[in-house]
């Protein structure tokens, strides 16, 4: 069984700690949403779990081995990362960008196979229309769907499925229907046994798709647990420093924030 966990990690920018004493494990088969105010350290935590950030204290262990001891290529088959807003230099097409997700699998797959897999993923994110268009001329939401396709194809290319999928604000810039489509794609992978971690700002999306929710505040993990228990209106109002109410009607519920 694959494991990815942070053990009492601290990440600093210079001498200033960005996140302190965070311990968190992603379980295979679960969708874990990380929420919290701006600057709380959500992306830093995701970067640390991805192996991008040097740790001042603690360790991030993938299958029991510290991140810094993994080589990049093996890592690419074990965990997949969607960072926030990516730019692409030069006029690569949507298909070329999506195919870059298969870089670590080039020795195993033929060019037509890679093309087919990338097109499948572009189809899943409804970005097939951008396959032959330069990425640089696409809108923000369209780019995000191409990047998501790149990440999905990387994650699916591993025969057993790359065990962990880390998504940093995967639905930022997407319209409502594509927000649901993107999170449903992630959800399907969790149901197939992958461990999914997504940084989200939309509480209703977190409530709808996540099994567990982790709350980050000022660089610390202040709560983590089952979604319905963790997303408590009183706690959320305190975390986000704005009144948040939970409205229940017709057997479903929604979080509302009406401002101060």
């Amino acid at each position: 069984m694959s494991t990815l966990r942070a053990e009492a990690i601290e990440v600093r920018a210079g001498t200033r700690p960005l996140i302190t004493d965070v311990s968190l494990a992603i379980e295979p088969g679960e969708f874990l949403a990380v929420i919290g105010p701006n600057g709380a350290g959500k992306s830093t935590l995701l970067g640390a779990l991805a192996g991008d950030r040097p740790l001042a204290k603690g360790d991030v262990l993938l299958d029991g081995k510290p991140m810094r001891r993994w080589n990049k290529r093996d890592l690419a088959t074990r965990r997949t990362v969607l960072p926030q807003h990516s730019n692409v230099a030069f006029d690569f097409t949507g298909l070329q960008v999506a195919m870059l997700g298969l870089l670590a699998h080039r020795n195993r797959l033929s060019e037509p196979q890679m093309r087919k897999l990338a097109k499948q993923a572009l189809g899943e994110t409804e970005a097939l229309a951008f396959a032959d268009r330069p990425y640089t001329v696409l809108s923000g939401g369209e780019r995000q769907r191409v990047q998501l396709a790149r990440v999905l194809v990387q994650c699916d290319a591993e025969p057993a499925g790359s065990p962990f999928l880390l998504l940093d604000e995967p639905i930022a810039g997407l319209d409502l229907s594509h927000q649901h489509a993107a999170l449903a794609s992630a959800r399907r992978r969790a149901d197939r046994g992958l461990g999914v971690l997504a940084v989200l700002h939309d509480l209703n999306m977190a409530a709808r798709y996540a099994d567990r929710v982790a709350i980050m505040e000022q660089g610390r993990l202040t709560a983590v647990g089952r979604t319905d228990a963790t997303l408590d209106p009183a706690r959320l109002s305190a975390v986000f420093a704005t009144p948040i109410v939970k409205v229940e009607a017709n057997g479903t519920s929604a979080f509302l924030s009406l401002g101060h």
Binding site: A50, D52, N71, K72, R73, L75, A76, T77, T80, V81, P83, S86, N87, V88, A89, F90, D91, F92, T93, Q96, V97, L100, G101, L103, A104, R106, R150, Q154
Partner: protein, 343 residues
């Protein structure tokens, strides 16, 4: 817009061969095509001694050198642009060429003092090795300054290039001051660039370096593609970015340094060739690198043929010609970016 060509590389290769054959024939001493055929053994008709000397001893090394230097600058430019994720990166503008030139010129002026301790067989290598060292230092300095945490600061990049070019110009100026008359001639030739005095013995070491440094970029072509995603993202898809960057800096310095050792600084080839090929064939490095190399080679061969014919029997410095084409081209690129990105 990218056009679809089934086999772009053979097409570029054909153009390169045509430029090489054509420029073998033109010059102060014109050689007919039938003579050329017999010179390479494809025709039984005998050729006279003068023609044979012109072709073998003068023109062949010159044309070959121009092709290899053009190819090296173009491939080096493409690699630099990928490293910096920016199409404005050029070995000349960033100071890679002038760093190499300063080192090469130092060897010319001070080389005699150390020459006696170098074994005779290794002496032709001193210049290319020094040029490589100079190129390596300037590339590393520019890279350290302009690339922070995987993001290239374009302004800093170009300013760093200006600073290095100014520094090396000062250095070369100092050397001009201490050089004797004979050295002075060589110096000026070096800073303007040219293939005038090219002989087989002088260029063989640099050609060997080029033959290693340029084709070995091809195996990392798909890694260069991934670099376009950004350094962090390239890492996520499996590229050991730090290792790739070290390799690229070294290979660019080798290619440009060896080029400078042959012909001095020749600007803008590394800017023009990759850019035009990218416009025609798209940015994928597996086609871009070889096509840009062939294009750059053919471009310099033609520029050199022009340099030695338009004011024949005198010669224009080739750097003047490439700057004449490249300067406006760079301004055009800059204007396009300025209107798009406010740079």
């Amino acid at each position: 817009m990218t056009i679809t060509v089934k086999r772009p590389i053979p097409l570029f290769a054909l153009a390169a061969v045509a430029s090489i054959v054509g420029s073998q024939c033109v010059g102060a001493f014109p050689v007919g095509f039938p003579d050329l055929l017999s010179a390479i053994g494809l025709s039984a008709q005998p050729i006279d001694d003068t023609t044979s000397v012109v072709l073998y001893a003068i023109r062949a090394p010159r044309v070959l050198a121009a092709f290899c230097v053009g190819a090296a600058l173009a491939a080096g430019g493409a690699a630099l642009q990928s490293l910096f994720r920016n199409p404005l990166a050029d070995p000349g503008l960033l100071g890679v060429s002038s760093g190499a030139a300063l080192a090469a010129v130092s060897v010319i002026v001070w080389g005699e003092r150390v020459m006696h301790i170098v074994p005779p067989d290794l002496r032709p290598w001193l210049l290319p090795v020094a040029a490589f060292g100079g190129g390596l230092i300037s590339t590393t300095v520019v890279y350290r300054l302009a690339a922070r945490e995987g993001i290239t600061l374009v302004g800093t990049l170009l300013l760093a290039g200006i600073a290095i070019n100014a520094l090396t110009a000062a250095g070369i100026g100092m050397l001009v001051f201490v050089a004797d008359d004979q050295q002075l001639r060589t110096l000026i030739f070096w800073t303007m660039g040219g293939f005038g005095g090219v002989t087989w013995t002088a260029i063989v070491p640099a050609l060997i370096v080029l033959a290693i440094a340029v084709p070995t970029l091809l195996p990392v072509a798909h890694l260069l593609d991934a670099l376009a995603l950004g350094e962090r993202e390239a890492g996520h898809v499996g590229v050991d970015v730090e290792r790739l960057k070290r390799r690229l800096v070294a290979q660019v310095a080798l290619a440009v340094g060896a080029g400078v050792a042959i012909s001095g600084t020749v600007g803008f080839v590394g800017l023009i060739a990759p850019h035009i090929v990218r416009l025609l064939l798209g940015p994928a490095h597996r086609t871009l690198l070889p096509s840009a190399a062939l294009f750059g080679g053919a471009f310099l061969v033609l520029a050199d043929a022009l340099a030695r014919t338009i004011v024949s029997p005198a010669e224009l410095p080739i750097g003047v010609l490439t700057a004449l084409v490249g300067g406006p081209f760079f301004l055009w690129l800059l204007a396009g970016r300025a209107s798009r990105e406010g740079l």
